[in-house]
């Protein structure tokens, strides 16, 4: 066969979202790739400028469909810095719990999609089944399974329902043996190693050159995790290890994500224990009334009032399940943020596609892209 371009996307089972990977192939060999993003661009940054600080949270859930709470967390930290509001300690722990559960949920979703890409059928449903337990937990305290709108500037919307921590411990106890099962299904299979070893190699220097972060960076042996390197929230209070692997290939990324889930379980056990032992307020008292206090609907006049608030900017960067996400919120004193800017890790990870795809086979594209863990929502914003 002569060389030809094929479009893998925007409607293609490999993409797991709405983007297009143009591939130039010769027979089964990939000669060149050209990732095209932007099909899902919704202008979230611009829309944010017309919304109250708390209303932006709604958009954050829509930014990434598997990691909504992590993105809420990202935005909330930046917004609180811009508004100079300090959340109570319990709220911070609740947010950490949200983020870690979200990490498990997101990685389980990744696992399900990834094994589907290499043709494993049953683990796909195992991953989805176990993710459902995490979603059930979310539902029990946020009321939603995907669009949570749980965090607020100055705290979180509501405290946990009674009995939640026991339920959470039960889920964690269920999950830990499942991770072993996943490993048996994948790492125990020779075909898995045949398909994934030495595939999609992206060395540490290439990762840094392209701004690739998250599990992809750690799979190249770089021990960088913002929860450790630049602790935000109260991550310095909890004890955990950074998951690192050598190899920089698809298998290494698998190992890193699996280990991250185990570490998340470790963090969650500590956080849940803390939450049990320390009841308290979940909302800061200094939140201005027009921002919306917990449990009390905001009066109409609150929104209309042109309240002057000290100006400021806030920057945050968190270790989102896909990588390092960053947010920049400019507060010019109005009710709305003047400018909001997000940095999506997936955008950088995808943009480096040429580096880790060229030279492999067409059949290698799904496992490699699967190991990148694409979430187009947050990539295009």
């Amino acid at each position: 066969m002569s060389e030809m371009w094929i479009n893998m996307g925007p409607q293609h089972p490999m993409t797991h979202g709405l983007w297009n990977l143009r591939v130039r192939i010769d027979g089964e060999t990939v000669l060149d790739v050209d990732p095209e993003m932007g099909y899902l661009h919704r202008g979230i940054e611009k829309i944010s400028e017309d919304r109250h600080y708390n209303e932006v949270i709604t958009l954050m859930d829509r930014t990434c469909y598997v990691a909504g709470l992590a993105w809420e967390h990202l935005y909330i930290i930046a917004a609180e810095k811009a508004l100079r509001i300090q959340p109570p300690e319990r709220a911070d722990y609740l947010r950490m719990m949200c983020e870690e559960f979200q990490r498990i949920g997101s990685h389980l979703m990744w696992y399900a999609a990834f094994v589907q890409d290499i043709g494993l059928m049953s683990p796909f449903l195992y991953g989805m089944r176990d993710r459902d337990l995490v979603l059930d937990l979310f539902q029990s305290y946020t009321g939603a399974r995907m669009t949570y709108e749980y965090m607020r500037v100055g705290g979180v919307r509501n405290d946990l329902p009674p009995g939640f921590t026991d339920q959470a411990r039960k889920v964690l106890d269920w999950l830990v043996p499942r991770f072993k099962e996943y490993d048996q299904l994948c790492l125990g299979s020779d075909i898995f190693h045949k398909r994934c070893d030495h595939l999609g190699v992206l060395s540490a220097s290439d990762c840094i050159r392209h701004g690739v972060t998250g599990p992809m960076l750690r799979s190249a042996g770089v021990k960088r995790d913002l929860r450790k390197n630049r602790p935000y929230s109260l991550y310095k209070e909890v004890d955990f290890d950074v998951a690192v692997a050598d190899g920089a290939d698809v298998t290494a990324r698998y190992l890193v994500r699996m280990e991250e889930m185990r570490q998340s379980v470790r963090i969650l056990r500590q956080v849940v224990d803390w939450l049990d032992a320390h009841p308290g307020p979940v909302m800061a008292e200094t939140v201005p009334r027009w921002m919306g206090a917990p449990y009390a609907p905001v009066g109409r006049e609150g929104y209309l009032l042109k309240r002057q608030y000290p100006k400021g900017v806030g920057f945050s960067s968190i270790e989102e399940p896909h990588g390092e996400a960053q947010a920049y919120v400019v507060n010019e004193g109005g009710e709305h943020p003047y400018r909001v800017k997000f940095r999506s890790p997936v955008f950088a990870n995808l943009s480096a596609a040429r580096t880790y795809l060229v030279g492999y086979h067409v059949a290698d594209i799904p496992p490699i892209m699967g190991s990148v863990d694409v979430c187009v929502g947050e990539c295009d914003r």
């Binding site: 490999m14 089964e28 494993l120 049953s122 449903l125 195992y126 299904l185 045949k194 398909r195 594209i365």
Partner: protein, 376 residues
């Protein structure tokens, strides 16, 4: 009841129906319609219709069986709502596909686009006229029935490639290429594994091969051949881990990407027909066909149509193993598949031929007993 054969059943049906019609008709017409030649002719048609109905019904039940098994492997229940335990789900699906419009891509080649799936299904169905299901339940004594079955079985890559090429889609073309490469690569070890069986049984006739297994089923002494045959069948059926021609993740749906509605149903049906044939061949060649070992109590083998029942049980268990493999293994890559095919499977199949020759020379095995046809 033990001497009921497929032909006697169809003759009985034809005879009864035609005589019933003849009894109400006026004399000259009645004499013509109850003519022995006509009854025999209609009996042949009934014979074909019975085979067709049985193969279709079995295929549909096979799909149900796969869905239920796969569901259980995946910690869910599979089809549940249409009919008892979802038994009628496939009829509903088939009816839905039947009603759908067939969309032909603008630049597709009509001739290939339509004849490809049709020929694929027809050749798959011809196989059922060749395979014996039980003693007497076949379409007559064909001395080379195994050879004929494998020859018809290997038509498939041609029709797949024709339909893929005429779809005018890059994914289809790649899927078609892969399919052709894969099927041709696995045809060779498959045939060599069959040669091992033929050497031991001393016949190309499937019925004879089954009766040669009265002392021991061939899977024991010919276990290498069984492994090769099983893997080769897996590749011929294009099931996971060898389903790369329709590798969903990269090729959308492979060679049948552009097919929808009834043409897609043709492909789907033919795939399962071939899966059924594959399982049947494993049972016939290695698992003693419709016979049971002699130590089994006679009550289990003497009830009416016992042969067919045991044959179906074995076939569905073998297919269950295929489903099990599908539920637990990832997909391999084309180059890996071809490398395994040419570098591992062919030497293995040659080894199995050698072992079979050795077995025939030795004539008797300590555990398994003797080869009956060699007169020891």
């Amino acid at each position: 009841m033990s001497n009921v054969t497929l032909y006697s059943v169809s003759y009985l049906l034809s005879d009864t129906v035609l005589r019933a019609i003849g009894s109400v008709l006026p004399r000259p017409l009645s004499a013509w319609i109850t003519n022995a030649d006509l009854i025999t002719g209609i009996a042949v048609l009934v014979f074909g219709a019975l085979l067709l109905a049985a193969s279709m019904l079995n295929t549909i039940v096979l799909i149900w069986w796969e869905r239920k098994l796969l569901g259980r492997f995946m910690d869910r229940r599979g089809a549940m709502h249409v009919g008892y335990a979802g038994l009628l789900q496939n009829f509903a699906d088939g009816f839905k596909l039947f009603r759908k419009t067939t969309v032909q891509p603008r630049d597709a080649d009509s001739l290939g686009f339509y004849t490809g799936p049709t020929a694929y299904m027809v050749t798959s169905m011809i196989l059922f006229g060749i395979l014996p299901i039980s003693s007497g339940w076949n379409s007559g004594v064909l001395p080379l029935s195994l050879l004929l079955a494998l020859a018809v079985f290997s038509f498939a890559p041609l029709f797949i490639f024709v339909s893929a090429w005429s779809s005018n889609n890059k994914y289809s073309l790649m899927g078609g290429m892969r399919s052709a490469a894969q099927m041709i690569a696995y045809e060779v070890p498959l045939l060599l594994a069959v040669v091992a069986v033929v050497i031991v049984a001393g016949s190309f006739d499937l019925t004879t091969i089954v009766y040669e297994q009265q002392n021991y089923w061939f899977w024991g002494p010919l276990v290498v051949a069984l492994v090769v045959f099983f893997a080769g069948m897996l590749a011929e059926m294009e099931r996971i881990p060898f389903d790369l021609p329709e590798a969903e993740a990269e090729l959308v749906e492979g060679w049948n990407t552009e097919y929808g509605g009834m043409l897609f149903a043709f492909f789907m049906l033919a795939d399962y027909l071939r899966a059924l044939v594959g399982s049947i061949l494993v049972v016939l060649l290695f698992l003693g066909g419709w016979t049971l070992p002699t130590w089994v109590p006679a009550a289990l083998t003497s009830f009416p149509l016992a042969g067919i029942v045991w044959f179906m049980v074995k076939t569905y268990i073998v297919f269950g193993v295929f489903v099990w493999i599908r539920a637990s293994l990832p997909r391999v890559r084309t180059d890996q598949l071809l490398r395994v095919g040419w570098n591992r499977m062919i030497p293995l199949s040659l080894l199995s031929v050698f072992l079979a020759a050795l077995l025939v020379t030795v004539k008797c095995l300590p555990v398994f007993g003797c080869v009956p046809s060699l007169g020891v």
